[in-house]
């Protein structure tokens, strides 16, 4: 079994599912759902298998597959996972699986919906397991268009229309990716010049000693590209609108995993290939990260639409990830990866709950609700869990991420970290206000008709809530894995101190 291409299998299963759905007749909605559920479940199980099969003691890239793909570009269809990508792979599948269930009640154009959703899941997964720049970028952009279609076909129009939201999201991310692509190509060209042969393999390129000014320049491009995806301040404008317009499943996947590609890229590509550049630019990133945390957090205080709240809050939380990345040390990067995982499950759970609520009530305005815990206790549990995770309560995996980032960043940027930690107060305020506004207060009879979570609706809550708690109560299960990856990465890039840009 050791030769079994388990990553490819996990990657291709949703695509196969999508193809199968495409050939199913549109009326067979239950079969379509079943196919989606089964293929994502299989993918989830495979990625769990990878998690358990991964040898942490050995570390490094494992489950490696490599097939030469485009010779003259040095491209190989190369997959592999290490401690950094594995949690994110798992995250993708957890959320993907939950997303299928969270959108179980989609009524219109079921076939298109699930086919696109499965493509999206595969695409995201691919970015995390690819160890080749070309393949990475390929998957990176594969996801954009399904998202656009999903948003305009199944999204909702509130403050902005879904068409606007979808287009803004798409174009914004694509423009970010244009910068990224320039950087990648430049990296490739330079790498070829220095290596003497073309290679897109991340491992091979990591061995190349790029000139420092080149590194700085390329890292700036990457920081813009990945930063946009990660909704780095001030390039975050797509994020709240995008989530608000998107259907539940897309919000889940987008906030949950897609954003994490940005962070992953900054670590895997930015840091590993361009350590000098990363360190040089790091202080700037840290300052922008503070912008994320505080600025977006404060804006959250004035939001009334649930999706905007979670949207801005995810911008705010990404600030922690950026801060972790910008601190460039073992602890902070461990924390950043953990935070990505944590925020992923949390945001997905939040959006799943909001989706359930919105689907029935057709409003997302906090002021329209109140006392929903009376009618929908299970939904309230989900909201509470997500909310408490969001404010970094110990016992949830988010705490582990935030705490670790703070420890890692504090030694590098004292003042910035102190200011960033003030974010935990801001988060507490808006999250608690929101929870209080939606769930608590007197029972309102106009919402008596709302159905609580039941049956398949419970799957996202159980899966994602379980992940939040398991990671929070037993953090070593995930953190040791992450550490095995980050540790090797930091050994590879060698010691050094951040700074230089100012």
């Amino acid at each position: 079994m050791s030769d079994f291409p388990i990553l490819s299998a996990a990657l291709l299963l949703p695509i196969l599912g999508a193809l199968l759905i495409m050939i199913l007749p549109p009326r067979q909605e239950s079969s379509i759902r079943a196919v989606a559920a089964v293929s994502t479940l299989a993918s989830l199980l495979l990625s769990l298998g990878v998690c358990f099969g991964y040898d942490q003691a050995k570390g490094g890239m494992q489950f490696v597959e490599s097939i030469p793909w485009v010779r003259d570009l040095g491209v190989s269809y190369a997959l592999g996972v290490d401690g950094i990508s594995l949690p994110l792979l798992l995250l993708t599948n957890l959320i993907g699986f939950s997303a299928v269930y969270a959108s179980w009640h989609t009524e219109e154009r079921v076939k298109e919906f699930f086919a696109l959703l499965l493509l999206l899941i595969s695409g995201v997964m691919g970015t995390f397991v690819a160890t080749d720049l070309f393949i990475f970028f390929l998957f990176y952009e594969v996801v954009v268009i399904p998202i656009y279609l999903l948003v305009i076909m199944f999204g909702s129009s509130k403050r902005v229309t879904k068409e606007y939201a979808g287009m803004k999201l798409t174009i914004y991310l694509l423009i970010g990716s244009a910068f990224l692509l320039v950087g990648l190509i430049a990296l490739f060209v330079k790498g070829q010049a220095l290596l003497g042969f073309p290679s897109m393999d991340i491992g091979t390129l990591a061995g190349v000693d790029f000139p420092v000014t080149f590194q700085i320049f390329i890292y700036c491009l990457m920081a813009f590209g990945f930063g946009t995806l990660l909704s780095m301040f001030p390039f975050h404008a797509w994020s709240p609108d995008g989530y608000a317009g998107a259907p539940t499943a897309v919000s889940m996947i987008h906030a949950g995993v897609l954003k994490k590609i940005g962070g992953y890229g900054l670590i895997r590509i930015g840091l590993l290939l361009l350590p000098a550049g990363a360190r040089y630019v790091a202080p700037l990133i840290a300052i922008l990260a503070l912008g994320n945390v505080v600025y977006a957090g404060i804006i959250c205080l004035n939001q009334r639409d649930l999706k905007y709240i979670v949207g801005y809050s995810s911008v705010s939380h990404m600030g922690y990830v950026l801060l972790g990345i910008a601190s460039v040390n073992l602890i902070s990067i461990n924390g950043a990866v953990m935070m990505m995982f944590a925020h992923g499950v949390m945001a997905a759970l939040f959006f799943a709950m909001i989706g359930h609520l919105y689907q029935q009530s057709h409003t997302r305005n906090v002021g329209d609700f109140g006392g929903l815990a009376h009618q929908m206790p299970r939904l309230a549990v989900g909201f509470m869990l997500a909310g408490l995770a969001s404010l970094g309560l110990p016992g949830t995996v988010n705490f582990i991420g935030e705490f670790t980032i703070f420890v890692g960043a504090f030694g590098v940027y004292n003042l910035l970290t102190i200011l960033a930690i003030s974010g935990i107060v801001i988060t507490a305020v808006y999250i608690l206000r929101t929870l209080g506004g939606v769930l608590f207060g007197p029972r309102r009879s106009e919402w008596d008709h709302l159905q609580d979570l039941r049956g398949v609706d419970l799957v996202p809550l159980l899966v994602l809530g379980g992940a939040i708690l398991v990671g929070g109560i037993l953090p070593f299960t995930i953190m040791d894995l992450i550490n095995s990856g980050v540790g090797q990465l930091l050994v590879q890039i060698g010691p050094g101190s951040v700074g230089g840009i100012f």
């Binding site: 793909w69 485009v70 010779r71 003259d72 570009l73 298109e112 070309f134 970028f137 390929l138 998957f139 990176y140 952009e141 594969v142 954009v144 268009i145 656009y148 279609l149 305009i152 076909m153 068409e163 979808g166 287009m167 798409t170 174009i171 694509l174 423009i175 990716s177 244009a178 910068f179 692509l181 320039v182 190509i185 430049a186 490739f188 060209v189 070829q192």
Partner: protein
């Protein structure tokens, strides 16, 4: 000399004449049959070219060259023509009893292109080019009772003739400076050292003349009008093949006639390419007619392809060839859908595409995917092509060009997605399903698979392009 290597040209010429004759002989109602003949004949020629891909020969002391480069473009032209013949099977009814002539003109245009790419000499290039162009003058105006079509033909003729004159004047100056018209001899005659002003003037006029064919800014203004007015299959052919032919000439010209030029033509072309990309894309943004939008988009696409020549290194040229070929699949695919919709709805306005995804999911999917490929979204072919092109550009030091190109290509997604939006969420005027004949759907499938396959697995085609550009001595 193995003259059988000229067989493809001879065969296409013969096929054109045969189609012309049979078209005149057959009774009006059964002239559709010539279409089958043309398709079969072209397929046979295509097979012939592919079979002889590796055989090379230089004819007439370099005036005519059959090499892998030639063969690559021959395959490109032939497959483009083939796809267009297939996808236009319903549209052709609009030509009435003149279908036979239509096919033969298309074949003559193909012949002109094949001559252009193989030509190693200014005169032959010129004649091939005019054969192609004059065919297109007629083809553009082929919808006789359509005011737009006639106007398109006339505009094309006037501006085409003007640029021919410019091109010719440039050729005369090059000829004056080198005393020969054969590319390989030109490079020998010019020697090294600073060039004479007349030669440089000649070269820039060549760029201008051919720039007209590839619709590079500012020689592009005709493009939208002609593309909009001409019959859609003609537009498709015009956009993919005539452009590719002009590129094939430009590449051969610059790399085998002017290889050692100290004049920085790269910079000139880079500026043109940048302008073309920017203006093409920006102007496409506000378009509401899909055909016209695709015309502007094709201007931008030409800009991308031109980047390959700017770079003029291995990646760049590979990218140029790669892109030219994938452009056949993607653009013909897009135009095939436009054709199908136009036949049904009578025009190619954006509203006509509204709700297409319900009426014809296949058409909507193909149009979306082809347009995204044009925008350079992975894993579609356009991405791989752009990757080569811009890798070449960056390698040659044109980072800024890569920036502009990639940025604009992402902006272009906006107008492509507008069409997708109309198709997927717009309300359609009619509800009944839009039927697609087998030949059209075959063409659609070929375009779709080509677009996806070349993007997912670009290896084979890039190998082919590597062979094709081996004739040029480049780094």
């Amino acid at each position: 000399m193995s003259y059988e290597l000229l067989a493809p040209e001879i065969a296409v010429a013969a096929l054109g004449l045969l189609v012309l004759a049979i078209g005149l002989l057959l009774p009006a109602h059964s002239r559709k049959a010539v279409g089958y003949l043309a398709v079969l004949g072209l397929a046979a020629v295509l097979v012939l070219v592919i079979a002889n891909f590796n055989r090379e020969a230089v004819f007439f002391a370099g005036v005519y060259q059959v090499d892998k480069y030639t063969n690559f473009f021959r395959i490109l032209f032939l497959s483009a023509a083939l796809l267009i013949f297939m996808m236009s099977s319903r549209y052709n009814h609009l030509f009435g009893e003149r279908q036979g002539e239509w096919f033969s003109f298309m074949l003559f245009a193909t012949l002109g292109m094949m001559i252009m790419v193989a030509a190693g000499d200014l005169i032959t290039v010129y004649v091939g080019l005019e054969l192609m162009t004059i065919s297109f003058y007629v083809l553009s105006a082929y919808l006789f009772d359509d005011r737009l079509s006639a106007e398109a033909g006339l505009k094309y003729l006037i501006i085409g003739a003007l640029s021919s004159a410019v091109l010719l004047f440039g050729m005369s100056l090059v000829y004056a400076s080198s005393a020969t018209t054969v590319f390989t001899e030109i490079s020998g005659a010019l020697g090294s050292g600073p060039e004479q002003p007349a030669l440089l003037a000649g070269i820039v006029m060549l760029i201008a003349g051919l720039g007209f064919k590839i619709s590079a800014v500012p020689f592009h203004m005709w493009t939208p009008d002609i593309y909009q007015g001409a019959p859609t299959p003609v537009t498709a052919y015009l956009s993919v093949a005539s452009k590719a032919a002009a590129f094939s000439v430009l590449v051969r010209l610059f790399l085998s006639a002017f290889p050692g030029l100290s004049f920085d033509w790269h910079l000139v072309l880079a500026v043109l390419a940048a302008l073309t990309i920017v203006i093409g894309n920006l102007t496409a943004l506000p378009q509401t007619n899909v055909k016209r939008m695709l015309a502007y988009s094709s201007i931008a696409q030409a800009g991308y392809i031109l980047v390959g020549l700017v770079a003029a290194n291995s990646y760049g040229l590979k990218g140029l060839l790669f892109y030219a070929l994938l452009y056949v699949f993607s653009n013909v695919g897009a135009f095939a859908v436009v054709t199908a919709v136009e036949v049904e709805e009578g025009d190619a306005e954006l509203e006509s595409f509204s709700g297409l995804s319900r009426r014809a999911p296949m058409l909507a999917a193909v149009l979306t995917i082809c347009m995204l490929s044009l925008a350079g979204i992975p894993p579609l072919a356009g991405f791989a092509g752009k990757f080569y092109l811009f890798a070449g550009a960056i390698q040659a030091g044109y980072l800024w060009l890569a920036f502009i190109g990639l940025l604009m290509s992402m902006i272009s997604v906006y107008y492509y997605l507008n069409v997708a939006k109309a198709m997927y969420i717009g309300a359609s005027r009619r509800e009944e399903r839009l039927l697609v004949p087998t030949s059209v759907s075959t063409a659609l499938w070929i375009c779709l698979l080509g677009t996806v396959f070349l993007g997912v697995y670009p290896g084979p085609l890039s190998g082919l392009t590597e062979l094709a550009i081996a004739i040029f001595s480049i780094g």
